[in-house]
Symmetry: D2
Subunit: 132 residues, 4 copies
């Protein structure tokens, strides 16, 4: 499956904790980096305000499965795959891997909202086409 | 329900992001603070090495539901309730609230492991009794 | 010296790194929490936008001296003392202590700026009086 | 000066705060990534335990000058230059730049210590030669 988008992520001290492993919340930081680069590759800005629409994606639901730990200096691969695209939301599946070993899987549902009214909004057509 | 354990958490700049809301991974930091204080109240040390057993809890599965955003300066309440206690794991339900408004719910399964062998281990009897 | 402002800060896993000590950048997070609470005690909002002025304090210069390490579960004290108040800046001295042991000292100069123009601005008179 | 070591750093949501700029402590995270890669390029492991010596570098003194802010999505350059090498410490100068604009300078003194005794130790000869 070499058509799955991914980025490399190096583990630094900032990512680890006193158990000498990557702190459990930091996999979400790595996952967002991959999503941001995925969107960038599709020419979709990460920041809501950037395109003047005051709209953007926010996390609605996240599921993490921790299978194995990552350690200081590990070079990880973080994938990003769209699983389902709805009117105003998108479901994304992500893996955090060390070589072929899947350390953590992340299932995330993002909702496209208007930041000011904090209401779900239909994902614009050009963005839908890019995501498809 | 005044028998549910909770701690107050203030939102500082460090917790927010460029959307002016709390960064989505940081709710897991708040949740762990509450779990640590919950364990402390039960006299269970957070750090694996502390009691010489080289055993401790690590996250196995996490589910987050984001319902509403927290903002800079918000004073939040983070709860911690044990839902199920098994041989070597525990399921905990947590809410992150602003006044009565539930901003985020977290369902987390922790496994008690031996850090060196990274294998699930039976939760010691004294700890089980404290958790029950 | 019981007239020096201080707050307690507990060290959690999120604050530590793989050396089992508090990560060196995180002392700046602790320091900002103390400054924010110091300002709150003086009724000065932390966020620039909050009072409609679009002005606020940003860090200009920071000096940290690391004398000793903080560890997981440590209960620290973080102080905050104004050393000098100028037209558009303020110099603050902070200590991060464990009991009487000073682990880290921080000297920070904050400049009061207009966020939109990113220019130093005179600190308003009411705020000056509160800070004095 | 194309012989100054540097790495690129992309600014993600995790790095920003509610002022829509990079949070002041996070420049230290970026700086450490550059130092770690600098050491890696010299074949010096970052983690104290990795080479069995139980020795490693810890921060003793840090000075930061904030000149300008970095924003979401910025692609920064973080440099790393050794300024002085002593028996058991090293002084490093770092710049965080956006294009040619220096946003932040960092002066850091690291001390080589034995982690167990927490005492300064002479930097080993092979490491000295690599650093020179």
């Amino acid at each position: 499956m070499n058509d799955i988008f991914s980025i490399p992520v190096r583990v630094y001290y900032e990512d680890t904790d006193a158990e000498r492993i990557v702190y459990y919340a930091n996999y979400l930081r790595f996952a967002e980096r991959a999503r941001t680069e995925f969107l960038r590759a599709l020419n979709i800005p990460a920041e809501t305000a950037k395109d003047g629409s005051r709209c953007g994606f926010v996390a609605r639901h996240v599921e993490l499965d921790y299978k194995n730990s990552a350690f200081l200096d590990d070079l990880l691969t973080v994938t990003c795959e769209i699983k389902e695209l709805k009117n105003s939301s998108v479901n994304i599946y992500q893996e955090i891997k060390k070589d072929q070993d899947v350390l953590c899987t992340i299932n995330i549902t993002l909702v496209y909202i208007n930041i000011d009214r904090h209401r779900p909004t239909r994902i614009p057509e050009t963005m839908r086409q890019a995501l498809n």
